[in-house]
Symmetry: C2
């Protein structure tokens, strides 16, 4: 690829990143149900017509947003090689299912669960959430496999344990934004920690 087309590709990337940033801000401010292309445009420095040039509508844009989030997640290498697998596992759980969320993260989590609520009737959303779940499950499974190799973890089936951890994370995510109480997150996390101590960590049971 020549220099000019390389530049064009980079400019394209910049535009997409700017649209994605505006989408994040609009989702966090308005949620999915009240989101419009106009509200994304309000957060966007460039022209609204650029949004329509790139996307067929709100849902097309949001599906690309989910794709972008996943690329971002997968590109971010875990810079923790050599760290204790148990420390890494707990850091990951704290990242994806923290007991306390700041206001912005809570608003964004609520919007993500609204998007997930589109997946039962929309194949494009369903594909994205299938991939989001796969990425997190693989991250769990890799840490568990390493812990088993190290002798720090019991010889469980990493794929099964990872799917179970993912299921508890998805349960926490949906409960915390769809209930009037705290979603039972503190209790669920406490029991998840007890489960890990009993079933996974060696020399703890």
């Amino acid at each position: 690829m020549g220099d000019s087309s390389r530049f064009a590709a980079a400019a394209e990337d910049d535009t997409r990143a700017a649209i994605m940033r505006a989408t994040y801000d609009a989702l966090t401010s308005h949620g999915y149900a009240n989101l419009t292309i106009q509200r994304i445009a309000d957060e966007f420095e460039k022209s609204k017509s650029l949004l329509y040039h790139h996307y067929d509508g709100k849902d097309d844009l949001l599906v690309d947003f989910l794709r972008f989030m996943l690329e971002h997640w997968e590109a971010k290498a875990e810079c923790r090689e050599g760290q204790d697998p148990r420390v890494r596992l707990e850091a990951l759980l704290d990242r994806v299912a923290a007991v306390e969320l700041d206001e912005e993260t809570a608003a964004f989590t609520a919007a993500m669960e609204e998007l997930r609520g589109q997946a039962p009737h929309d194949a494009a959303y369903r594909e994205q959430f299938t991939e989001h779940d796969r990425a997190l499950r693989e991250r769990f499974a890799a840490i568990i496999a390493e812990g088993i190799d190290d002798g720090a973890f019991e010889a469980v089936d990493p794929a099964v344990t990872a799917e179970f951890l993912l299921t508890t994370v998805n349960g926490i995510r949906i409960q915390r934004v769809t209930r009037d109480d705290d979603g039972g997150v503190a209790a669920a996390r406490a029991e998840l920690d007890a489960y890990l101590a009993t079933r996974l960590y060696r020399g703890e049971a």
Copy 2:
């Protein structure tokens, strides 16, 4: 209450039950996103105007549907007094988070998760799902407390364990209808059973 007003109340109940049945059928056929009052009316033997007489619109009707489901659930006494708490716990898990679902139950589960996806931005839905979660959590906690009294279960905190079980159930429910694969349900249930054997059932670990 005199006989005539008692009859009026029963007729009112019959109409509500008929509307609820029509709503269940329409939700199972069309899901939430494609649901209209007309589609509920299509499943309803009486007149569409009766629906508008009772409800302000689709969401008002669906919130009452969630209320009706919960009343139905709470009224249905568990006719299993004296049964082994472990058998009762596993029967309850099979009822709310079965590994395999028939087509109708799968379609209804998908619709329920779409309704739950309204809860982040709609307080009336959020109130209903808070109550649905409370009811299931209390059912879990009651069985766990009985198992502890019997000496069949370890002396866990029933409230904490019940919230954790609820979280895994909600994770299974959302995953199974928002992914292209099987939602990891079989793996999650297998590990949930292993968790119960290790943490809850006495003489299994």
